[in-house]
Amino acid sequence: MQHVENDMDDLFQRAAQNYPLQNGKGDWESIAKRINPSQADPKSVLPLQKKSNKKLIACLLLFAAFLTRDLLLQKATTKLSYRTALSDLMKEKENIILNDLGKEKIVSVAEQKKITGNYSRILIPYSGNNFINESSKFKQVHFYHKENFIKSNKNNQNNYLVTEETNDSNILTTPAYKIRERSHNLLMDNLEKEVEKVLIAAKTENITLENSLAKNNKNVNYKKATTTAVLSQKKIFYIGLEGGPDFSKVRSASFNNPGFDAGLLAGMSINNKLSFETGIIWNKKNYRSEGTQFSMDKVKSTMPAGMIINNLESESSLIEIPLTIQYNFIHKKNSGLFISTGISVYIMTKEKNMYNVTMNGTAEKTTGMYEKNNYGLPAVASISAGYVHKVSKYLELRIAPFLKIPLQGMGVGSLPITSTGLHAGIIHRFK
């Protein structure tokens, strides 16, 4: 027996010396760097450093460009809003002031004969609606009511805007509708100055135009859309960063240590209610599973015969690509509530399974590491609900718990993994 053993030992010794093994190319450079770091080729180090520096500079420049763009956009938006609001409000103000004078009214042809005295102005439904002042020369505009004309003017138009240059003899009027030009001019002068003063006050005191004008004239009722429509437009495209803890498990197994998610988002808002989102998220999942949930189909050939998996713990690294639709069911000026749903596809980059197995009646532990996972693309359906808060014109914070339900098994064992957790994120919107 000892002879046989000695012979076998000799055989193993010969096998150990002579067995055929690929040497590979060797990795002398990495060894050289470790033993002689000062003699490491500077060229091999510098380009890497240079590359990193270049990337960092590029990121900083991009960020600076974003900031500058935001600042310029804000200025332009303010100017635009200022000018537009001024123009809109002057129209509104003019209408209201004219009305408030108490001397203007729209009269029909039948009524005009009953009117005595002079009227400073008559409102005209120009272009079919309220009058629209197409001339910037307020002072020189005279307004005539279309129905007041007994005879039409030479152009045979129902509505027209008459300027100072127009010869009044072209228009047939009754004496009751003489225009008091002087008072009109004075009124327009005052109007312009008044509105200008109010808007400047709004800008310097940083209060809304609506509130500012309301302070100065309580009778005024300004349409919110006039002021707010210009100042707060829905930003269509956005990008963001999101991350948070991830708790995963397989069916009835208990939760393991938390993993985490972190990634980039990109989205597009259709309107104030609906948005589409996608992104790329790095996942680290820790989960447990009973052996009965683990499918042996993919690893049968590499497992020892007669081995039974009792249970396992797994640590997996994945890349997730989500595609979701978000619905804002409560949308206020600075905050909102939303729900979102969609699907996500996973690409597993690394999987480490620690198995508790029974082999030939003996309990044992064993580990499997799988780095090149070619076992398809598992998918999950996701649902979440959250809260979003606007911190500035272009920045939002949001927080949303989520639930991900498996549509396909994941990993070498095709495990149906359910995940839940909390995502917190910061979003930047583009105009």
Binding site: A15, Y19, P20, L21
Partner: protein, 190 residues
């Protein structure tokens, strides 16, 4: 021998040229040792690199009295470093068994080689060794192939001598079982 001495002295002086020559000369030898201990080929490559780093950093500790024994002593020194580095990794992994097959690309069997059949036998034997659980594999390799005594094994692995002996017995029993299974398969396929 003179050449070996020159290379060794060059390595002692941290001369990269001689260090590279030494690495090229001993890389295959070192990898074969490590691959008997470490299951995964890529990990075995890393451990071999770690072993060479240790060798070059600790080269001052290597002493030889007689120049005639230089080659033998140097080989033994490299072997010892590689085995210790492999054992360190296995301890870090808590001696947990690995699963998964050994890919074919790690073997260097040339069909036209007259000794190809023998190479296959050697390859199969080493595969059986790698199949052993790590605790048994270490003791089997150290005692049967590398010639360590149980006392030396117990000292290196910090285990009782009795454990070393019993692990070896179990390793031999498992090895016998694997060989019997292999014979059955061969008979069945015929």
């Amino acid at each position: 021998m003179e050449k070996t001495l020159a290379i060794l002295n060059g390595c002692r002086e941290n001369n990269p040229k001689y260090q590279k020559i030494f690495y090229d000369n001993y890389n295959a030898f070192a990898l074969k040792i490590v691959f008997r201990y470490i299951y995964n080929y890529e990990e075995a490559l890393e451990v071999t690199n770690d072993g060479f780093v240790k060798f070059f950093l600790q080269i001052e500790k290597f002493r030889h009295d007689m120049e005639a024994d230089l080659e033998r002593l140097l080989t033994g020194w490299v072997k010892r470093i590689m085995i210790n580095t492999a054992i360190d990794l296995l301890r870090k992994k808590m001696l947990l068994p690995e699963i998964g097959g050994i890919p074919e690309y790690v073997w260097d069997i040339k069909d036209k080689n007259p000794t190809a059949e023998q190479m296959i036998i050697y390859k199969d034997l080493i595969t059986l060794v790698k199949k052993l659980p790590p605790a048994y594999r270490i003791v089997f390799n150290m005692h049967v192939i590398d010639g360590y005594t149980h006392i030396e094994i117990a000292e290196i692995l910090k285990i009782p001598v009795g454990t070393s002996k019993s692990n070896l017995l179990r390793a031999r029993a498992l090895m016998q079982k694997y060989l019997n299974q292999k014979e059955e398969l061969t008979v069945c396929s015929m």
